[in-house]
């Protein structure tokens, strides 16, 4: 009997001690506010293109934080953004929702064919980051360094004079590719590997 009482009281005392530690930790290390929205927003690419059907990246971040929206609606962010948000929230990453667009191969910027521009300012009003310089009846031009490639300006242009062009950084932007570790997955390649040569 005594051993039973001893065992039970030992367990009770242990659980009280650990419960107290947990409670203390919950109060002492409490995180104020909901930093989640800012954290999610920091992961989004800030092109403010609206392809997710929200007027900007912050509203989309809010919607994700509230749980109203899936995390796979951002084409400019692509797979890496989906993965990053999934890691942050501790959920499963989903493939990009095709409804909202597809991930582009390389970053693009808008370029206005200035000969054809009629100075209507419709594209200036459409640009979410004010990257188009111009005024009514004056020439419009895209500030290349500020353009995020969201292509919201293509639609409103009445003379269709805007092109999306891939960015080429040239020599300063070049860097090594990741080495490809060649592992034969087809039986056909085994001969080369057996001789130790790169396939």
């Amino acid at each position: 009997m005594t051993s039973f009482i001893v065992a039970v009281s030992a367990l009770v005392i242990l659980s009280l001690i650990f419960g107290a530690i947990l409670g203390f930790a919950a109060i002492r290390f409490k995180v104020e506010g909901n930093p989640l929205v800012e954290q999610i927003d920091a992961l989004l690419p800030q092109t403010q293109c609206g392809q997710c059907s929200y007027p900007g990246c912050s509203p989309y971040a809010e919607a994700i934080a509230k749980g109203e929206e899936g995390i796979n609606k951002c084409p400019p962010g692509g797979e890496s953004t989906i993965q990053a948000i999934a890691d942050l929230l501790g959920v499963e990453p989903e493939p990009l929702d095709a409804e909202h667009g597809t991930e582009k191969e390389s970053a693009m910027v808008a370029v206005i064919r200035e000969d054809e521009c009629i100075g209507c300012t419709k594209c200036i009003q459409a640009c979410p980051v004010d990257a188009i310089l111009g005024a009514a009846k004056q020439m419009h031009t895209v500030i290349e360094s500020e353009c995020t490639g969201c292509d919201l300006c293509l639609e409103p242009c009445p003379v269709d004079c805007i092109d999306m062009v891939p960015i080429d950084g040239g020599l300063p932007a070049w860097h090594w590719d990741k080495p490809i570790q060649i592992i034969a997955t087809d039986a056909g390649n085994t001969d080369a590997l057996n001789e130790g040569k790169a396939a």
């Binding site: 092109t47 007027p55 409804e99 080495p179």
Partner: protein, 721 residues
């Protein structure tokens, strides 16, 4: 000799086979003058130099052909006399194999020097003048990096305590500095003395590896022969790779570590390559700019491996020919040493100021890289790393693109010496992984900066729009109140109500507009995607269904947004209408304008439709709908105009048609026509493309003038009545 000098050591390092004896058997010979010289404009770290010559110019040897742009940049001089035949993109000595802007000189073999003279007693010249002479001579670091030397010697007074001359040449195969010391030790020492005169350090240490006994001897002999020097010491260090790395050499000679991300000058130390000292001597004492360098040509495919004095800009092809290299037997061409050099795949690549070695290797000498196997975590890379990093961890992070962790494990401190890849038993190309990760980190940082800026611009724009909307609201309110007060003087309650039920805050409408635009964009995108899928025969029917459903959803969203917006606008207009000061929009004049506008719009829509039909583009449908819409509008306008004319006719326009205003209108119209005419004539003279548009403009103005004149006549006849 360093009998009493206390040497330190750095952690790690490897001992690859030296392969230096092949190229030290003969003395330095000249590589001669090739047919053409190709001079890249960026042979240094810093801004690209700007060409000062044009195609077709004749240049003399040593003439300045490109000027430095900014402080961190370097001048470029013609290595021999000849004619400038091209300034265009050419393959350059860079591991990417990309091209960059180069000046090509076709040599005339005359080798005619430009007027130049050296300074006999540089000790009498003050340091800043010497520095500008070095800058003018275009001297850059000759050890491999190519940092503009004048920047490195521009230190604050008393800032440098130790000047270190890097004569270690730790990489296998390279013997350029070795032969330079053996044959031209006096010039080298003179150059070092010039440096010492500029920087005024407390001690000057020449660090040389113990595999170069002859060179050390030559240096000591030269030192003995110049007795005024007491500062310079030749310190022999044990041969280990990479003891020639700046940070490692400083650690060996002084025991100090350069702080991460910092410069040796923060420790009061500055390090120059031996070849740079030689170039400084040529620049100051002989007045010769940097136009040639000693390059080792070696490798088993090379029949006569030795060091050559090569003119900057000499294509590697020329050097291969001079040294009798069997290009067919060369399986790999490396510029630099085997540990840190990069491969060249085009033999027209030019030698630049920092090219210290060319290795033409056969397949047995530098075999193809073996298959990368799994990492067994043996830790040999960690033992070899001279920067005390954990290459193994960096490998895991780089491989999985975990850039954050790679950065926090100090991948930026990796000097890419290759010691880790050298020892790896699994043949993992570690350095390439780190280079990849570093490139990705740089890209990601740039992207983050850009996206932060985009966010700031977006938020500023939102703030601006809200501010403008608020201002509009405030203005509207002010006007409404003023009008309401006026009305209140005439009527009592109803006006008050009207101004109370002001427009819904304009900000709402802005928001609704944005939402509408976003939905519209979504609809167009989905439409395009659906069109593509429908055109594709192999498309997945499920996907098509999905997209169709998405399209209907998007369209409903758009319609709803449009509805809400329209209502909001209507409400705003309704409340604004009472205090509108634009006057009655239904006057015949205004309706006539509307009709004209609608008609011109119809014309443009028709034109676009024709174009689209000609091109057979997929927008035909859209344009057809546009045309139909415009047609409707034209008809509506016509109708409205006719009814208005009828009503106004019956109402007997009481407008007190002011004869004066009409006359003024005619005058204004006349001036406009004249101006348009002028512009048109000018355009015709210049044969501009805008002639057509101007003609239409002129016609419009002329018709308006005719109308104005007609109205004036009518009014005057009526008055007369």
């Amino acid at each position: 000799m360093n009998t009493s000098f206390n040497l330190f050591d750095f952690v790690g390092g490897v001992h690859p086979a030296e392969n230096k004896t092949q190229s030290t058997q003969s003395s330095i010979s000249s590589a001669g003058i090739p047919e053409k010289l190709v001079l890249p404009l960026t042979q240094h770290i810093g801004a690209q130099s700007k060409p000062l010559v044009n195609v077709g110019d004749t240049v003399l040897k040593g003439q300045l052909i490109a000027a430095a742009q900014g402080f961190i940049s370097a001048n470029l001089h013609a290595p021999t006399s000849g004619k400038i035949t091209a300034i265009e993109d050419r393959a350059i000595a860079h591991q990417s194999g990309l091209s960059d802007l180069c000046i090509e000189i076709t040599t005339d073999k005359q080798d005619k020097w430009i007027e130049h003279s050296g300074i006999a007693n540089y000790q009498d010249i003050d340091a800043s003048q010497l520095i500008s002479l070095i800058q003018e001579a275009g001297v850059t670091g000759m050890g491999g990096a190519g940092f503009p030397t004048h920047v490195k010697v521009s230190a604050k007074p008393d800032a440098i305590k130790t000047l270190i001359i890097n004569a270690a040449e730790c990489e296998p195969y390279i013997t350029a500095d070795d032969m330079l010391m053996q044959e031209r030790a006096n010039d080298v020492i003179s150059g070092i003395q010039i440096l010492a005169h500029i920087l005024k350090p407390e001690s000057v240490l020449i660090g040389i590896e113990d595999n170069k006994p002859k060179a050390a001897e030559a240096l000591n002999l030269a030192l003995k022969e110049s007795p005024e020097n007491t500062l310079i010491e030749v310190i022999v260090i044990p041969t280990k790779y990479p003891s020639g790395g700046e940070k490692q050499l400083i650690q060996i000679l002084t025991g100090k570590e350069v702080p991460s991300g910092g410069l040796p000058s923060s420790l009061g130390i500055v390090c120059h390559n031996l070849g740079t000292a030689y170039a400084i001597n040529s620049a100051i004492t002989k007045g010769e700019p940097l136009i040639s360098r000693i390059t080792t040509m070696t490798g088993n495919a090379c029949a006569a491996p030795q060091n050559y004095e090569v003119l900057i800009g000499t294509p590697v092809k020329h050097l291969l020919e001079v040294s009798n290299t069997d290009i067919k037997n060369t399986s790999r061409l490396v510029m630099g040493g085997p540990m840190m050099g990069f491969t060249i795949d085009q033999i027209e690549t030019p030698i630049i100021k920092a090219s210290n070695c060319i290795i033409a290797a056969t397949k047995q000498e530098l075999p193809d890289p073996a298959m990368e196997q799994a990492c067994i975590r043996c830790g040999m890379c960690t033992e070899a790393c001279p920067a005390q990093l954990l290459p193994q961890q960096l490998y895991w992070f780089s491989k999985s693109s975990n850039l954050e962790q790679a950065e926090s494990h100090n991948i930026a401190d990796c000097i890419e010496c290759g010691a880790c890849s050298y020892v790896c038993p699994s043949n993992i190309p570690l350095v390439q992984y780190y280079r990849f990760a570093k490139g990705e980190i740089k890209q990601a940082t740039a992207d983050k900066l850009k996206s932060d800026r985009a966010k700031v611009r977006f938020e500023t724009r939102l703030a601006r729009q809200e501010r403008e909307a608020a201002e509009k609201v405030a203005k509207r309110q002010a006007r409404a109140e003023a009008a309401a007060k006026k009305q209140a003087q005439k009527k009592a309650a109803p006006a008050q109500e009207a101004s109370d039920s002001k427009a819904p805050p304009a900000a709402d409408i802005e928001l609704l507009q944005k939402k509408f635009d976003a939905t519209k964009a979504g609809v167009t995108k989905t439409k395009e995607k659906l069109a593509i899928l429908l055109a594709d025969e192999n498309a997945d029917p499920e996907k098509i269904e999905l997209l169709k459903g998405a399209l209907t959803k998007a369209q409903t969203k758009m319609k709803d947004a449009a509805k809400v917006m329209a209502e909001a606008k209507k409400a705003e207009k309704a409340s604004a209408f009472t205090s509108s000061d634009k006057g009655d929009p239904n006057t015949p004049e205004r309706l006539k304008n509307k009709l004209d506008l609608a008609q011109s719009r119809l014309e443009t829509a028709n034109k676009r439709l024709e174009e689209a039909k000609a091109e057979n583009s997929d927008k035909i449908e859209a344009f057809e709908t546009a045309v139909t819409k415009q047609l409707e509008r034209v008809n509506d306008a016509k109708l409205a105009l006719e009814t208005a004319i009828k009503t106004s006719a019956t109402n007997n326009v009481p407008a007190s048609v002011d004869l004066e205003t009409l006359k003024q209108k005619v005058l204004a119209a006349q001036t406009r026509v004249d101006k348009a005419n002028e512009r048109l004539n000018m355009a015709k003279e210049q044969n501009l493309e805008t002639v057509g548009a101007l003609q239409t403009g002129l016609d419009k103005q002329t018709s308006k003038l005719v109308d104005a004149k007609a109205a004036l006549e009518q009014a005057s006849t009526e008055e007369a009545k």
